[in-house]
């Protein structure tokens, strides 16, 4: 029972995630939305990937520019294993395919880690970048293992399932992804509480001191890197099951960058930060890109805003509220937040409108697209929409500044009280 009480959050998350796809369920046709399921499966995979990236960045202070190499190589290994299973050469239950990917990631993490973990900080980052470039180039050149441009395709429908499921529908795959995501996340969470996990923290904080308590920081980095490879490989294995294909872009720098962005946006401060970041990044990339041509610009602006004003990430921002919450006065922030909302929306609206207008005037017009809001086509050459955008942006900014100042005062006061209260108790 205590186990249940301690882990209620995990269980709640599992229930919510299982229920969530039904929001998109097409009752008329009686089928799930493949798009929503694939997107959510993608989030699951990327969450594992981001968490494993955080084993390096958050836990060990190692910034890798080539983490996708481990993810992708794991995926290739898993794909080859599936094909061997299909051919009857070996036997492996479908459910354990991600494990094959994990072992592949483990192996390559060990080998490449030998090189990369000789250094730390910037040198480590540059080595991983170099390895990333080399592997992604090799992925196109060597047909045998990588299958060239076309990649390796598999058929996930096998007769070796332990549960008797054939994984024909995205829903079944989603459940498998969910299961593995929970297992992997739980394992990674537990790993932070092991001697290695703790010493990785120690070496991150002060690698020299770690030496003087008997540890070889390089060995710590290497093992940590190898383990991160294992989990990234599990992600890769799941990727193969979702898309039934693995191509060179799984090892590419863009994929590595995604993990970095997800972890940074989410925040390294708490274990769940990377998961939150992943959700934001995937939705931005797969969701917004469907709707707006200028999605890259939004991504850029989002990052700059985050880096400048909230380098602690989303969980960090949430975490800031903890003292006030503990003092039981979170409710008093509600009003200031609500007051800040309209000007913030106004700024956002003005900005988005401006970007979209520009984007449609140049690129969109060239593509023969029309800028439409709620079905009404907007004439991007008339001054009205531009005026609205500019006014919204300008007035919103001024208003927001005022509200922000008021918010700040309230916040500081609450923080002060909360601190005093905590000090008194």
């Amino acid at each position: 029972m205590s186990l249940l009480r301690r882990n209620w959050l995990w269980l709640l998350a599992l229930v919510v995630l299982l229920a969530f796809p039904f929001l998109f369920y097409d009752w008329a046709k009686g089928r799930h939305s493949g798009f929503a399921l694939t997107l959510m499966s993608e989030i699951g995979v990327m969450a594992i990937f981001a968490l494993s990236f955080n084993m390096l960045m958050g836990q060990a202070g190692l910034l890798s520019f080539g983490h996708a190499v481990l993810f992708g190589l794991g995926a290739y290994c898993a794909a080859h294993v599936v094909n061997l299973v299909k051919a009857g050469t070996i036997w492996l239950p479908t459910e354990l395919v991600p494990l094959a990917g994990g072992l592949g990631g483990l192996f390559f993490g060990f080998v490449l880690g030998w090189l990369a973990t000789k250094q730390r900080a910037t040198a480590f980052a540059m080595i991983t970048m170099g390895l990333g470039e080399l592997v992604s180039a090799a992925a196109l050149m060597f047909m045998g293992f990588f299958g060239g441009e076309g990649g390796i395709t598999i058929d996930r429908v096998m007769d070796t399932s332990l549960l008797g499921v054939r994984y024909t529908s995205p829903w079944q795959v989603y459940c498998l992804v969910l299961a593995w995501a929970f297992i992997a996340a739980a394992l990674m969470r537990l790993q932070t509480q092991t001697p290695l996990g703790r010493m990785a923290n120690a070496a991150r904080d002060n690698f020299e001191r770690a030496q003087f308590v008997g540890y070889d920081p390089r060995r710590i980095r290497w093992i940590q890197f190898t383990l991160a490879g294992f989990f990234a490989g599990i992600g890769g294995g799941l990727y193969v099951l979702i898309y039934e294909i693995v191509t060179f872009d799984t090892v590419s720098a863009a994929k590595s960058a995604n993990a970095l962005l997800a972890v940074y946006i989410g925040g390294t401060g708490a274990f769940f930060g990377p998961i939150l970041g992943t959700i934001v990044v995937v939705l931005l990339q797969s969701g917004v890109s469907l709707l707006s041509n200028a999605w890259l610009l939004y991504v850029g602006v989002l990052f700059i805003v985050m880096v400048m004003y909230a380098p602690i990430g989303l969980v960090g921002l949430i975490g800031l509220h903890a003292p006030i919450w503990r003092a039981g006065r979170l409710r008093e922030l509600l009003l200031p937040y609500l007051r800040a909302l309209p000007p913030a929306l106004m700024v956002l609206l003005g900005f988005v409108l401006l970007v979209e207008l520009t984007s449609f005037t140049t690129i969109g017009a060239a593509q023969g697209k029309h800028f439409a809001i709620a079905g009404r086509t907007i004439d991007t050459t008339s001054p009205l929409p531009w005026g609205i955008a500019l006014v919204a942006l300008g007035l919103g900014a001024l208003w927001l500044r005022r509200e922000a100042r008021a918010f700040r005062l309230r916040w500081d006061a609450l923080m002060e009280d909360a601190k005093r209260q905590a000090g008194a108790s």
Binding site: M57, L63, L115, K118, Q119, A121, T122, A123, A125, M126, I127, M129, G130, L131, E133, L134, A137, M141, F142, M143, G144, A253, A257, L260, L261, Y264, A294, L296, L297, V299, G300, V301, L302, F303, I304, M306, V307, M308, P311, T358, S359, T362, I363, A366
Partner: protein
């Protein structure tokens, strides 16, 4: 011999172009510790600015104005962005420049469109300068060599002979001391960032018509610049110069030598057939991987000598 001489010239031109890009980044990276992902974006901006300017007033004014504009962009980025981000650490700075790079790329697409723009070599320089073993050597390449050599000279003199240069060198090692002597170090930082960006812009002005001016040009030039800087070593302009030329020559000469590991093994009497393990890797010829050699060299040098070729401190 013929191939050798021509390749040497080509390697030099490419190496010098790399140097123009890398020198600015070396200064920025060694002084401020910023892995500036937007550096190649400045290269692209330089090319586009030069294109637009040369449409109206011609190439020669663009040669001056475009780098200056890039420098101003750089100064703005440093003063209003990077300086605020600095206290959040290096990863934050890096991500900041990454965001800037994304925004610049999109802004370029929105302004100039997705297709290459017809940014051409000025007519004055559009003739073959001389023929060497039947191959033309375009005057523009000589011009590029000249500009980059001038620039190398100018940076060198600027850093060693001018007062600002001395302050920059001083701030590289002991920023606190330099500021206690009365030098405005934050302004020096801005200046260096702006100058580095302007250099990249200049490289764009003269590289944009040598290559092709298109929105992806920043993306393709980015990694190799980092390689050059890291390989040459932090804090060393000489190292950066040597690394640039070396990378230029290696990539050029790798094309010339059609050899593979299998050929090497054949010397020892081992024949590689399709069934040999790793046959695919062994039979890869040098030209196929020439463009990858820089990355390989960077990884190796970092593993065994993290300060790079001539760096004054570890990367």
């Amino acid at each position: 011999m013929e191939v050798f001489v021509v390749s040497l010239l080509n390697g030099l031109v490419y190496g010098m172009l790399l140097f123009m890009l890398a020198s600015g980044l070396t200064l920025i990276l060694s002084m401020m510790g910023v892995l500036n992902f937007a550096h190649a974006s400045a290269y692209m901006l330089g090319a586009y600015f030069a294109y637009t300017i040369s449409l109206y007033v011609g190439f020669w004014p663009a040669l001056i104005v475009a780098p200056v504009l890039c420098g101003l962009v750089g100064a703005a980025i440093e003063m209003w962005g990077l300086r605020r981000v600095h206290r959040h650490g290096h990863i934050a700075e890096l991500l900041f420049t990454f965001g800037v790079a994304l925004i610049i790329e999109k802004a370029v697409q929105m302004t100039w469109g997705l297709l290459p723009v017809p940014y051409r070599v000025p007519e004055l320089l559009d003739f073959p300068l001389f023929r060497i073993y039947g191959t033309q050597f375009p005057a523009y390449r000589a011009f590029m060599l000249l500009i980059s050599a001038l620039m190398f000279g100018a940076i060198w003199l600027g850093l060693t002979r001018t007062r600002v240069g001395l302050v920059i060198q001083a701030a590289l090692t002991h920023p606190d001391m330099a500021s206690a002597l009365g030098h405005n170090v934050p302004r020096i930082f801005t200046l260096v960032f702006a100058a580095g960006t302007a250099l990249a812009g200049l490289a764009g002005v003269i590289g944009g018509n040598y290559q092709v001016t298109e929105p992806a040009m920043a993306f393709t030039m980015g990694p190799i610049v980092f390689v050059v800087v890291v390989f040459g070593g932090l804090g060393s302009l000489t190292g950066c110069f040597i690394a640039s030329i070396l990378m230029g020559l290696i990539q050029t000469f790798a094309v010339v030598f059609d050899v593979s590991l299998a050929d090497l093994l054949a010397k020892f009497g081992i024949t590689v057939t399709a069934s040999t393990p790793f046959a695919e890797i062994l039979t890869v010829t040098l030209p196929r991987i020439g463009a990858l050699l820089p990355f390989l060299m960077m990884v190796l040098i970092l593993v065994f000598r993290p300060r790079g070729l001539m760096g004054t401190r570890d990367t």
